[in-house]
């Protein structure tokens, strides 16, 4: 991929149209719109970030993605720990970036302890204070300990199978196979943790034997992979323009099948849409969960709303997370954006299929 700047070409720069993924699922709006408590958190617990970074986070409107993903909760006491998790997981994701392995392992272990039961020391990073506060609020609002343990375990897996598996590819600027990529992203996207907040939003946890049924495991895998691809579509411009960002489905597909960007977009959307269909197939043919049938159906409804809501956040809420203005700078590595010799335009999926998929001669 060429990153050279050529001012003469700029006027006639090629435009690449990227479809906005669409979903056959409901879009539900949250009763919440604003979140003034954000400032207090930034001041008290995120003061390890410099003022510039905090400003970038303000522009990202993180509360809005949380409201979009869990819009069915009107109880502010349940919303608060969900918001906390939305913030600390996102900020932590940027913070660990390509942290050296030893440091990352220590951070992972500490996250597990805090999420399970321990209180952080006063001098420990504010992320941990937020995490402990959320845990206490969940327990106070009736979430069972087996659910807390699951959260702790899945945070650990997010680091171990997600962040740590990504690092070698980022450092060496190499690409995994598509199959391997999806396995890594399934964890690194953080959805395996976030999907649990659905139960917090519902006010009850799925029993262990229901949660661990392979059909439910597959559902959550699909949800994670869909959101990862959705995220890759929204952030493709940032990743084309940044070093050490090989981990985007479009780039991985380009590399594996040796095809141009436009064709890789078509193939990536196909992979995404097949997963969306698979979730609907699973929903149409659920196993017999006995007493818990209704609860499982309700859970799946929430999961579909999450997927749809997050996508809407990227394109509708005015977040600057994937623009130069809103990039968070990781503790290690650089977020310096380079100029591109092409322009990315996000367009509605239907419009793209009708008008652009063929014009690019990629069908």
């Amino acid at each position: 991929m060429s990153k050279s700047k050529n001012k003469n070409l700029k006027r006639t720069m090629k435009i690449v149209f990227v479809p906005i993924p669409s979903y056959p699922w409901p879009r539900v709006l949250s009763p919440f719109a604003e979140f003034p408590e954000e400032e207090k958190w930034f001041r008290e617990d995120y003061n390890f970030l410099d003022e510039e970074t905090r400003n970038r986070y303000r522009k990202q409107r993180l509360y809005d993605f949380v409201f979009n993903m869990w819009p069915l909760t009107s109880n502010p006491e349940m919303m608060r720990p969900i918001l906390r998790c939305g913030y600390y997981h996102t900020i932590m994701d940027d913070y660990v970036g390509i942290m050296p392995l030893d440091e990352l392992k220590a951070f992972t272990d500490r996250t597990y302890e805090i999420m399970m039961e321990e209180d952080p020391q006063p001098n420990e990073i504010g992320i941990f204070h937020q995490m402990a506060a959320a845990r206490k609020e969940w327990v106070a609002n009736g979430m069972p300990l087996f659910w807390i343990e699951r959260m702790a375990r899945e945070f650990k897996e997010y680091f171990t199978y997600g962040v740590m598996e990504e690092t070698p590819f980022k450092l060496s600027n190499t690409y995994p196979s598509v199959g391997r990529y999806l396995l890594i992203r399934m964890y690194s996207i953080g959805q395996k943790v976030f999907v649990n907040l659905t139960e917090a939003a519902m006010g009850q946890a799925l029993p262990v034997h229901i949660h661990d049924h392979p059909v439910m495991n597959r559902l959550r895998e699909l949800q994670s992979m869909i959101i990862a691809i959705q995220n890759d579509f929204a952030s493709i411009r940032k990743e084309l323009a940044t070093d050490n960002e090989t981990l985007n489905i479009i780039l991985v597909v380009m590399h594996e099948y040796k095809i141009p960007l436009e064709e890789a977009i078509v193939e990536s959307l196909r992979i995404h849409d097949e997963m969306v269909r698979e979730i609907d197939s699973i929903t149409a043919c659920l196993p017999d969960f006995g007493l818990y049938q209704k609860m499982v159906e309700d859970y799946i409804y929430h999961v579909k709303i999450m997927v749809h809501g997050l996508n809407a956040f990227y394109y509708e809420s005015g977040t600057k997370r994937y623009t130069q203005e809103g990039f968070a700078i990781p503790k290690y590595g650089t977020a310096n954006e380079q100029s591109l010799d092409l322009e990315i335009k996000h367009v509605e999926c239907d419009y793209w299929i009708k008008n652009l998929k063929n014009n690019n001669k990629v069908v």
Partner: protein
């Protein structure tokens, strides 16, 4: 159906084909001996059917390592006989009965002793457990117990819901159930007996290893579906069959030939993904060589089972079909 041509030719898979060690004949005699002396509830005709299925060869085609001892493979053959016979038996059981069996198998593998009057399966599992204890650690046995429980609960039990009513799941659900139902996830734990290397828990739990196991389940399940069709083409079906081809035919409203093509495409996608994961395993540090060897022998097992269908068994051949016809009328009486 008349024109059905099984696409899985000899050597179909992109994995090595190997010869099998001579102890397979000794194991074959063992298997026949168990069928004669321990599986006393079987009729002569059923017993003969399991003998011509040639289950010691199934086992060793899937675990063909040249340096593996007879002693190490004996419990794997014992497993193969129990699971094959009990598979047919549980086909006619209720959801509750299958759940009870799943819990009982798990308990026995974890150390419980079967009661004197209990079904032969549980006694065989207890003997197998004791044989394995001589060279396999508790951690491995615990994994085996969990995998057996899941095979019965998520595979046999979920599939029974469809075979009992003659209805079909859709492809998404079928792929999940079949992966467990074909029992290959617990069976392939024997690869570690075969290559004399125990995967540490953190390696087994890694998503890439989990995915390799899961893909192997799907590949072997779909592979079996292609052979079952071949069997049916000669034998006809006594009940509504539940296989990938039927499932796709119904869900996507395809002709039989189109459904065969689509089913093969799905099977081949799994094989491609399996091979691509094999070729770029995660970094397990000092264990890399051993994990590569493990994943190599997983692939060899897929190729080996395909070879068994072609060369070693009559289970899917006309001579076997006639017996199956008879067995279908006999087994319903026996199961009471």
């Amino acid at each position: 159906m008349k024109n059905y041509q099984n696409p899985l030719t000899l050597g179909y898979y992109p994995f090595p084909e190997t010869s099998i060690p001579e102890h397979v004949e000794r194991l074959k005699a063992d298997a026949e001996n168990w069928l004669d002396n321990d599986y006393t509830f079987l009729t002569d005709s059923e017993r003969r059917l399991y003998k011509i299925a040639n289950l010691a060869y199934t086992t060793i085609r899937m675990l063909p390592h040249a340096n593996t001892s007879y002693e190490r493979m004996k419990p794997a053959v014992r497993w193969m006989v129990v699971v094959t016979v009990s598979d047919d038996y549980y086909e006619l059981s209720t959801r509750d009965e299958i759940k009870d069996a799943a819990e009982r198998v798990r308990a026995i593998l974890l150390g419980a002793d079967p009661l004197p009057g209990e079904m032969v399966f549980f006694h065989q599992y207890a003997i197998m457990r004791d044989e394995l204890r001589a060279f396999m650690p508790d951690e491995w046995m615990e994994r085996m117990a969990k995998d057996m429980y899941e095979y019965l609960l998520f595979g046999i039990r979920e599939m029974a819901a469809y075979t009992a009513t003659g209805s079909l799941p859709n492809t998404a659900i079928y792929s999940i159930i079949r992966e467990f139902d074909v029992a290959v996830i617990p069976f392939m734990n024997f690869v570690e007996c075969e290559i004399d290397f125990i995967l540490p828990k953190y390696v087994v739990d890694h998503p890439v290893i989990q995915r390799i196991r899961s893909l192997m389940g799907k590949i072997i399940g779909f592979q079996n579906d292609f052979y079952s069709l071949e069997k049916e083409a000669v034998r006809g079906a006594s009940k509504t069959p539940c296989d990938l081809i039927r499932v796709m035919e119904k869900e996507y409203e395809l002709s039989f030939e189109e459904a065969c093509r689509e089913a093969l495409r799905l099977h081949d996608d799994c094989v491609t993904e399996f091979a691509s994961l094999q070729s770029a395993l995660p970094d397990f540090g000092s264990l890399n060589k051993d994990i590569e060897n493990y994943s190599l022998y997983m692939g060899i097992g897929i190729q080996g089972l395909n070879t068994w269908y072609h060369l070693d068994t009559l289970r899917y051949k006309p001579e076997g079909y006639q017996d199956i016809e008879k067995r279908d009328t006999l087994i319903s009486k026996n199961s009471l």
